[in-house]
Structure formats: structure tokens, C-alpha cells
Amino acid sequence: MTQRSATDAAVVFDPATIDLLIAELSDRGYTVLGPRVVSDAIVYGPVTSSSDLPVGIRDRQDAASYRLEDRDDDAVFGYVCGPQGWKRFLHPPETTLFTAAADGDVSFPPPADAPLAFLGVRACELAAIHVQDRVLLEGPVADPVYRSNRDRLFIVAVDCTEPGGTCFCASTGTGPAAGEGFDIAMVELLDATHRFLARAGTDLGAEVLAALPSRPARSDDQEQAGRHVAEARTAMGRSVDLDGVEELLYANAVNPHWEDIARRCLACTNCTMVCPTCFCTTAEDRPSLDLASFDRVRLWDSCFTLDFSYIHGGPVRSSVSARYRQWMTHKLASWHAQFGTGGCVGCGRCITWCPVGIDLTEEVRRFRDTDLRRIAVPVAGPFPVEGGPR
């Protein structure tokens, strides 16, 4: 993929052209997935025209709270992000890896027919796809399912101009403007005339844009878009100082504050299910009734369950505090050591969808306030632990 400069081929089109964009992508053989309103939430799924899109709808997000409301304009991408990210299409919640027959024969499910096009990918979501690329494609073994979905993916990104109540991509450096890796990126402009400023990120993106009716972008389009995106940067509902957070969390592995979080956390797994970077899976063998074959099925899993760390004799992480510590330390600290990037893109989903409103930006602040390196009497030697040396 050749990445082009951001302003290359910048064009402007009106909202009706979104229909033509969907049609152009379908004509090229893509299954177009975009935002739709399903059960009072923005859910990504197949879209065939702009009438499927959440025109004139906004979402209000806060800790443990999510509501859709009518807007007083016809914004197409006037919401922040759906509860479930794009992850489910690239790294599906349930996949049959193979079917093995008793005679040793192995068969594979047919490959997905049509390539996917994502319409309306936010900057944080694009960053999350790059994080999962690192995890699932760049290790010693690449994930075959992710690889085949990802390789043919077409991405239409939309920069954010109205961040939500739980957003903090400005703190994680992953938004509000789409970074690299899109085919087309757009800014929706709602000033005097409702229009889209679009730029191509790849040759294929430029080709698709060229097939749509548009006019060249003028400096006032660019200036307005730039201003709105810049304003978005300062309008995030949340923020977090991630400077030195790796050392902070490692040094606070035995901070009693983990217990305080554990008193609130239900270990419900919501945060891991909605997180666009969480990648853990488990495998389940499902035999046929006559036991002549079995399917090995891969399912999303969560570090908040007891089974996740089960080894003979019991779970390694039996306490909720150890499980929350695993999750948060992984996201913000050990991810860097493992994959050379952070594991959090600041989308805020884990805050919005936590039933008790646990907010990792707030918890980071609490660890700074109670940092053992500052306030504890230094303990000589290793950490005090059960069964450990005295």
C-alpha cells in the first residue's frame, strides 16, 4: 500500500455523494460495513445506502452511560463511536479454525467471499486496527483469520470534530484526526453548507474518490476542517497523563489501590469485550454427535474470567484485583514491551460500558496520587507476598 500525503487529491462533495461512495465500493465487490442504529445503539453492520446510516443522531457517552439523541442537523457521522468496534469483522468473536475427522482428515471453512470496506472509521479505531496488526500479524506466527480479513480491507476514515464524554485520544496520541493507513479519510463539515472534505491515503482510495462527483478542495474548506479538528482536540471528555505510566504501574504492583478497584469491579468482562485492541481468545473443541469429527472453534476470551488463568490446581489470578491489575497493566504498560506500542487508543469504550463506571483515566490519577515510590516506607528486598521470604 502506498501512503499518499494527506492533502493529495483533497476534494469536497455533498452528503448525497455518500450514497455514490457506498455504491462505488459495492460495485468494486466490497461488502460495505457502516454505522446503523440497532437497539438504541450505533452498531457497525452492512449498509447499502445512506438511509441505513444514523443521519441526525448523536450519542451521549459518560461513565456507565450511553444514550442516543436527535441532533438538530443532518450530520451523517454525528456520533462518536459504537459500543462494538470494527474488531469483530477482522478478528471475529467466534471462528471455526478447522474440522478434524477421526480418520485424520482436516478440512477448513470456506474463505470469506467478499472483501470488506469499513465506512466511518474513527481515528482511534484506525489506531486500534494498527495495534491489532502488530499483535496478530507481526509476531512469530501471523493469525490466518485476521490476515485474510485484513489484507483486502478498504478503510474510509472520518476525522472527529465532536469528541464524546469518555474520549481521550488526544492523550494517547491516536486522534482526533485519522493517522496513517486509511484509503480515504473525510471530515464532515456542518457549517453553512453541509459537505465532506475528503483525502485519499492510497492509490486505490484516490481511484475511488476520482469516480465520485466532487470539486477540488479550497483553502476555506481546509481551514474550516483544520479548525474543527483542532477544537476537537481540546474538547475531549477525558484526559490522562501517560508520561511514565509503565514505570508507575510496575512500581505500584502491590499498591492497595488495586483492592479499592476490585471492590467496585464486577469482573463482568465488558471492558475487554468492547475494547478494540483486546485480542485474547480461547479454543473450544466441538465434537459432532456421532463423534466422527470435531470443530475447533476460537472464541474471544477475557482476562477477567477465572478460567483464563486456570492451570492445574486453580486460577493463577484468583482475586479480582489481580485480574484488573493484569488488564490495566497490560493495556498501559506491558503492551509496550510486548508489541512496541501502547494497548490503549483512548476510545473510552471501557469507561462507557463498565456497568459500575470504572474509569481508567481516573484510576491512573489515583495511582499517581498514591504512588508507592513517593509515599511508602521503602521495603527492603522483594515484594512481600504469600509464601514469600520474610
Binding site: 478434524a100 477421526a102 482436516v106 512469530p140 485474510s148 481468545t281 473443541d285 493463577v316 489481580a322
Partner: protein, 279 residues
């Protein structure tokens, strides 16, 4: 059989016949599995993912001789659904195999100086290939001691072979059990007590340790107080594993993935983690 896409191949077990089954202990058997011609080449310390048809897949260390790759030898203790199905296999049955995965014991480090092999219970299985390797090139090492402990005498693995080593001069063998049984005249106590009785020159000694996590912690501590360099103490870690190849996330141990960064770790690489609970 549909040829697996090379991309998916590491996730798909090959089904190989079990050649023989040897009952080691009441709950433990050693399977000799027949890989295709060419064998399964592995390093001491590596493991495979073994599937029991339709039941599930678990990580099991290779316990055979790296010099004899035409036989894949694995020792399995029955503790749950998958391991009990695997220990019930009979000669001729097929077993699903993926691997070998993970790194090996740092045997290179051990050359030219004394070696301590410290095992607890089933932990001797991944260490037996170390002993085989040393024995094929015995002169390359200094004094070699096997310090092996089990809960009871009937929990000691590979006793026939151990008796053979005891009779020879190549390996000093020290055994202990947590609790004796009639007929047991050996020592009673934890495996760390054996360290005091072993003869080795601490400077330069390499120790290979495998057993329950708590046993490894105390062994590390005892070895360090005996003067063994932290960098020369290698342990094999165990975590739940659902893939063996770095994709499922289950085997995380702090910043490490046990399946791809381990299972063997040097204690010097995980100082902060050693004494931390529930990592």
C-alpha cells in the same frame, strides 16, 4: 486431506499414531508418538500442544531424547479432562500434535562448569532431555547433580532410569520426598534441602529448575544463598495456553508470553515478577 494454507498450518494439529504407552505412576504415563519420517527435531525444554480428539488441546513438554527425534516422547499426568483422555490412549490410537514450541534450556551456558538439575514431581519431564543431552557429551560439563523431590516415593518419576544413573558415575543423584512410605530409606524433606548436600562450585554453576511455582521460588532463593548467580538459574514457567504461538494471550506472565518468550526464563530476567502474587 485438504492441504492447510501455510498461514493456518501452525494452528492445525497433525494426527500421529501412538507407538507405545508406558505407565510411570498411578496417574502418569509416557507416550511414545510416531512422527513422520524425519522425526520431530526439538530442543530440551520445548513443548508441544497435544490434542485429544474432540476433547481439547493442552501444552505438554517433550521428555524424550533430543538425539532420537524419530520418537516423540511425552510424559503426561492426568489432572483433568484433556490430560485424562491423553493418558488413556492406547498404542495405535492417534494423537494431535502441534509444535515444537517455545525456547529451550540454556545448555550452552552450562558447558565447562558444574550443573544442577532441580526437579519437583512432574517437573522432571522437561528436564530429562537436559540429562540426555549432557550424557551424550558428558566431558563438556563439570559435576552434574540431579536433585529430585516428590510428594511421596510413589510419586517419583522414571525410577528405573534414575537407579541406572545412581549406579553410574556421570550424575550425582539426590532424592527426597515430602513424606515417606514403608520401605523408603531415603531422605524426607523439601527439595531445597538437597542443595546443601550437593557438591558443586557455586561460581559458574548453572541450575535448571522445574516444578511447582512455589518450589521454584524457594529453590531460586536457596541457590542464590548458596552463591549461584541469578543469571545462571533457569526455570520453566507454566501458564494456561490456548495457542502456543503468541496469539491467544493466555500465557502472559508480566511482559512475557510463556509460549514464545519461554517457557524457560533466566531468573535475572524476571526479578520483579518472582515474588509477586497472581501475575
Amino acid at each position: 486431506m485438504a492441504l492447510p494454507d501455510p498461514l493456518i498450518a501452525p494452528l492445525v494439529p497433525a494426527w500421529w499414531p501412538v507407538r507405545s504407552v508406558r505407565r510411570e505412576l498411578a496417574d502418569t504415563v509416557t507416550l511414545e508418538i510416531e512422527p513422520p519420517p524425519g522425526g520431530l527435531v526439538f530442543e530440551p525444554g520445548q513443548f508441544t500442544m497435544l490434542s485429544a480428539f474432540g476433547i481439547g488441546e493442552i501444552p505438554i513438554s517433550i521428555s524424550g531424547d533430543p538425539g532420537a527425534p524419530h520418537a516423540l516422547v511425552q510424559t503426561i499426568r492426568s489432572v483433568g479432562p484433556v490430560s485424562s483422555a491423553l493418558t488413556a490412549l492406547r498404542p495405535g490410537d492417534r494423537i494431535g500434535v502441534r509444535g515444537p514450541f517455545g525456547n529451550g534450556w540454556p545448555l550452552e551456558d552450562a558447558r565447562g562448569a558444574d550443573v544442577l538439575v532441580v526437579a519437583g514431581g512432574i517437573g522432571l519431564a522437561p528436564l530429562r532431555p537436559v540429562l540426555y543431552t549432557i550424557l551424550t557429551d558428558r566431558d563438556a560439563y563439570g559435576r552434574v547433580s540431579l536433585l529430585y523431590g516428590a510428594r511421596s516415593p510413589s510419586g517419583l518419576l522414571y525410577l528405573d532410569e534414575i537407579r541406572g544413573w545412581m549406579a553410574g558415575l556421570d550424575i550425582d543423584v539426590l532424592l527426597t520426598v515430602d513424606r515417606g512410605e514403608p520401605g523408603w530409606h531415603g531422605s524426607v524433606g523439601v527439595v531445597t534441602d538437597l542443595i546443601r548436600r550437593a557438591s558443586f562450585e557455586p561460581a559458574g554453576t548453572t541450575a535448571f529448575v522445574c516444578g511447582p511455582e512455589i518450589m521454584m521460588r524457594f529453590t531460586k532463593q536457596a541457590l542464590e544463598s548458596a552463591g549461584v548467580d541469578e543469571e545462571r538459574i533457569a526455570v520453566s514457567m507454566e501458564r494456561n495456553m490456548a495457542c502456543g504461538v503468541g496469539l491467544c494471550g493466555h500465557c502472559q506472565f508480566g511482559p512475557f508470553f510463556v509460549c514464545k518468550d519461554g517457557p524457560v526464563f533466566r531468573c535475572s530476567d524476571m526479578v520483579e515478577l518472582c515474588w509477586l502474587k497472581e501475575v
